[in-house]
């Protein structure tokens, strides 16, 4: 798994108390699927981010239920979150299989990079 770089603004973020959804999303962009060469947020794998006092809940999926990489990607996601989130804030990541991931969930930037010239129809 690629070692994620740490941009300077996240050093400052360590003193900031509460996370918000956008910061969590930014952190999760550091988690890359090396088979595709894109991060889990741009791939559309992160379905929900719920921020509550002292808790960050994330629901995400994998592109393939036959893929053993799930745990490692979760590990990497936890590593990113633990690095930046305050100690009293507990992240919890759940893998869900519904709805099934499909290419329409990828970000526009990601789709363009992978060669899509128009929004993908569901290939399944």
């Amino acid at each position: 798994m690629m070692v994620p770089h740490r941009p300077p603004e996240t050093q400052i973020a360590m003193t900031h108390p509460a996370p918000d959804e956008e910061r969590v999303r930014t952190l999760l962009r550091q988690v890359v699927d090396p088979e595709v060469g894109a991060n889990i947020v741009d791939l559309g794998l992160v379905y929900r981010i719920d921020i509550a006092p002292g808790q960050v809940g994330i629901a995400m999926t994998m592109t393939s239920p036959a893929c053993p990489m799930g745990e490692m990607i979760i590990d990497d996601a936890y590593a990113e979150l633990d690095r930046i989130l305050p100690d009293e804030c507990q992240p919890e990541i759940r893998i869900v299989w519904e709805p099934s991931w499909n290419p329409t969930m990828m970000s526009e930037q990601c789709r363009l990079r992978l060669g899509w010239s128009e929004p993908p129809a569901d290939q399944q």
Binding site: E35, G37, A66, E71, Y78
Partner: protein, 355 residues
């Protein structure tokens, strides 16, 4: 039944690697090298040791981790035990039966994945597991390893191809491409069933061209570091599958053909092990939670694999036994270099997953 912890999975992998060691030594024994007695007596079992025992362990271990059910880990356990039985000189039926149980376990685990997400590729992975089982049953019923080999090759090739098919979803792959893929798989299954080797080889040739055309690796070559490395491993492996297809269409898969060694190892080493080298940095951490950091030294075993295999194939094509014999030794050493590289990279980075 809950999942098996990573600390419990590593022994299963090592158990399977005994079959890798025994299988490689058995292969060297077949080419006249002197090896320790257990491997020497198993010289004729190189195929089942490498494919059913070793790769059976690795692939069923991966699938067990993917679905997260404890019972699924019985498959790699059975595969490893089967290999050990073969190396220990136990009655053949013991190793054969354990292999069947392992294959059945993988079919079941793949079925779970298929139920989670019914798609062509999860179907292909289940089919591939079925080919492993068919190969083992054919071996038991006919007593002929060569009759099982096409099915064992399909187990490996379809497992890999199924996973590559899954990744084509990320690209604007035309719907026709999936139909062509299914047709190629159909051709492979039919030709294996009616045992028409040149047709079987044509299937591999077509599949290799399909992969070279549609795989996301074509795009990922332009990336960097690990993503690029994986892509280069894959594309180089596809070239070997093309070569295997060409050799096979010329008759190389026929038992006794002088090019048979070249054709089989173009697949077994060139295609399959290039895939292994490319995916080890992500699968090993995925299964064991032990990270393998990217480093350009990863290219070393890959380059050596291609060079030594080219020598071996050239030796086969020119009917030069001495060249083939020595190249096979180098092939074995490449695997040692690969394992040493992995160990080196793991030790250079002892970070583990914390949850």
């Amino acid at each position: 039944m809950s999942d098996l912890k990573p600390s419990g999975r590593l022994p299963l992998l090592f158990f399977g690697m005994l079959s890798l060691l025994g299988g490689v030594l058995a292969g060297l024994a077949r080419l006249g090298w002197e090896v320790p007695a257990p491997a020497a007596q198993a010289a004729g079992l190189h195929g089942p040791l490498m494919i059913s025992a070793f790769f059976g362990t690795v692939i069923s271990l991966e699938r067990a981790v993917a679905i997260g059910h404890g019972w699924a880990y019985l498959a790699p356990l059975a595969a490893g035990a089967g290999g050990l039985a073969l190396l220990a000189g136990a009655p053949l039926i013991v190793g054969q039966t354990l292999g069947c149980l392992a294959a059945f376990g993988l079919v079941a685990a793949s079925g779970v994945a298929m139920r989670r997400q019914f798609a062509i590729y999860t179907g292909i992975l289940t089919l591939a597991a079925g080919c492993w089982l068919i190969g083992n049953l054919i071996w038991i019923s006919s007593g002929e390893i060569s009759a099982a080999v096409p099915w064992w090759l399909l187990f490996l090739v379809l497992t890999i191809a199924g996973e590559r098919l899954e990744l084509t979803r990320f690209l604007p792959t035309p719907p026709a491409a999936q139909k062509i893929f299914i047709a190629i798989v159909g051709l492979l299954l039919v030709s294996a069933t009616i045992t028409v080797n040149p047709l079987f080889a044509a299937g591999f040739f077509a599949l290799a061209l399909w992969l070279l055309r549609y795989d996301i690796a074509r795009r990922n070559v332009a990336s960097d570091r690990l993503t690029r490395f994986i892509a280069i491993c894959l594309l180089s492996g596809y070239v070997w599958l093309v070569i295997a297809g060409l050799l096979g269409m010329a008759g190389a898969f026929t038992p006794g053909h002088i090019w048979r060694d070249a054709a089989l190892h173009s697949i077994g080493l060139g295609f399959v092990f290039a895939m292994v080298f490319g995916h080890a940095p992500i699968i090993f951490p995925a299964v064991t939670r032990i990270k393998i950091p990217y480093h350009p030294v990863l290219y070393l075993p890959l380059v050596l694999l291609h060079l030594t295999l080219a020598l071996r194939v050239f030796g086969g094509l020119t009917n030069n036994f001495a060249l083939r014999q020595h190249a096979s030794l180098f092939n074995g050493l490449v695997l040692v270099v690969f394992i040493a590289t992995m160990v080196l990279l793991v030790r250079s980075n002892t970070k583990r997953g914390t949850r």
